[in-house]
Every structure is written in C-alpha cells, then in structure tokens.
Symmetry: C2
Amino acid sequence: MVTDNPARDPADTDLTRADSLAREIFAGVANKWALLLINVLADRTLRFTELQKQVGGISHKMLAQTLRHLERDGLVDRTVHPVVPPRVEYRLTEAGQALRATVNGMCAWTRTYLDHIEEARRRFDSTRAG
Amino acid sequence: MVTDNPARDPADTDLTRADSLAREIFAGVANKWALLLINVLADRTLRFTELQKQVGGISHKMLAQTLRHLERDGLVDRTVHPVVPPRVEYRLTEAGQALRATVNGMCAWTRTYLDHIEEARRRFDSTRAG
DNA sequence: CGGTATCCGACGAGATACTG
DNA sequence: CAGTATCTCGTCGGATACCG
C-alpha cells in the first residue's frame, strides 16, 4: 500500500481499487480501540465484559461496535455458547494474530520512547508559548 | 503498556500516571493520518505540499495539524529554510524511524490480508443480511 | 450477560479565506 | 509555498434505556 507511485498508470484500475480498499482497511485498523482490543486478545480468549475491564475506558457501545468491525474483517472470532446467562467468547483469528505482532511493536515503541516524548513536548511547548 | 494488571497496586501512582500518558501517546499515534504520514516519510525528507500529494486525500488543515502533533511528540523534524518562496522540510527523527518499522509492518499486513479480509466481509455481510 | 437503539453533546475534519 | 483562523457540518462516542 502507498507503494510510492506518484504518477500511477491509468490502466491499472484494479490496483487503484485494491489500493482504496487497502486504505479503508488500514484506516479501520489504525484506531486506538481496535489496536487496544487486539493487544488485549493477544494470547487469551476473553468474554465481552472481561474485554471491557481489560481495555480501560472503553464504553459498552464502542466495545460492541469495534468488535463487530473486527469480526467482519475476520480478525476476531466470535463464539456464542448457548447457555444462560449468555457466554460469548472472542479470540484472534490467524489474521488477527498476524496483526498482533505489529501491535506489540507499537506498544513496545510507546514504552521505549515515553520519556523521550514527554521531554520533546516540554521543549515544544516552551519554545512556543515562551 | 497494558501489561495485564487487573488489580493494580494503589500505591504506585507513578506507574498509573505513566500508563495514562502511554495511553494518550498510543492513541495519538494510532490514527490513520499520523501513521500514513510516517509511512510516507519513511526514507525521504519531504516538503509540505509534497506530503499532501503523497498522502492521498488528506486536507491542507489535517496535514498541518497532524504534522504539528508529530513534531510536538518529537517524531518528525521540521526544518525551515529562510528563502522565498518558503521551503519547509519534514523528516523523521530517530523516534519516528523506530516507529516506522512498526508502520511498515502494518502496511505489509494490510497487503497480505487484503483478499482474506474482502472475503471475510462478504461472508459476514451475507450471513447477516440473508 | 451480551447486544442494539436512541438521544445528544463534543470533537474531527473539510472548505474557504486570509497572512507572511 | 506554508501556515493559521473561522465557519460549518458530519461523525464519533458516551449515557441511557430496552430486548434476548
């Protein structure tokens, strides 16, 4: 995606279509709730409420919505156990697992550069306001 | 970050603060424009208008805004050449380069699973509407 | 417990116009 | 060319309430 193609050949309508789809998928996955959910689902399979507890700050609604998206894109697998009370479990599919490696990288990056960023912000803010 | 800590020790206020900061940074970076910009800036240094052309679909405003954020967090370096007409160049800092690897991973993932996802969507949509 | 629907405020983001 | 400001509108996202 974004395979630096400044002047694309007008002929490959197929590639442009695939590219626009790629863009949409990328945008769908490049959002905090989706990535956070994937990160939390990394190794275990969790239930709806457990997920909400693990991912701090996500609302009931956004959790359901994001899970729907991830399910639709085949990143998480939704298993309903026909019992009462209902028991629904979520786990990563192979595609989700593949993405998870990337997410881990982003989390690691955040940890590594936390201080660096905090200081960069101080510099930026002072050299602007001052 | 999100180092599965269901019941955190109430004593380490420091860790919770760092964690909330980490969350904010993660969320700031986990958005399509930021990631797309980082991806485009991967190997070369680009000017404002060049960036806008490379990242298709981004508005003048969002480009400026996102660049400000990235600059503030020390991910991109902004160099102003005092000439006329103005020439401002953007390049990744070391922190940005480090994050870039992750972004590359996400782009690669998107390419790899494009077909997989497209089919998953068809299945999902049909087994729902049907 | 898991999920959807509705209402409503806040913010994201485009268009436009203006400065240096 | 690079950047900011304003205005506007659409969407995101939270709270709440209600079904299975």
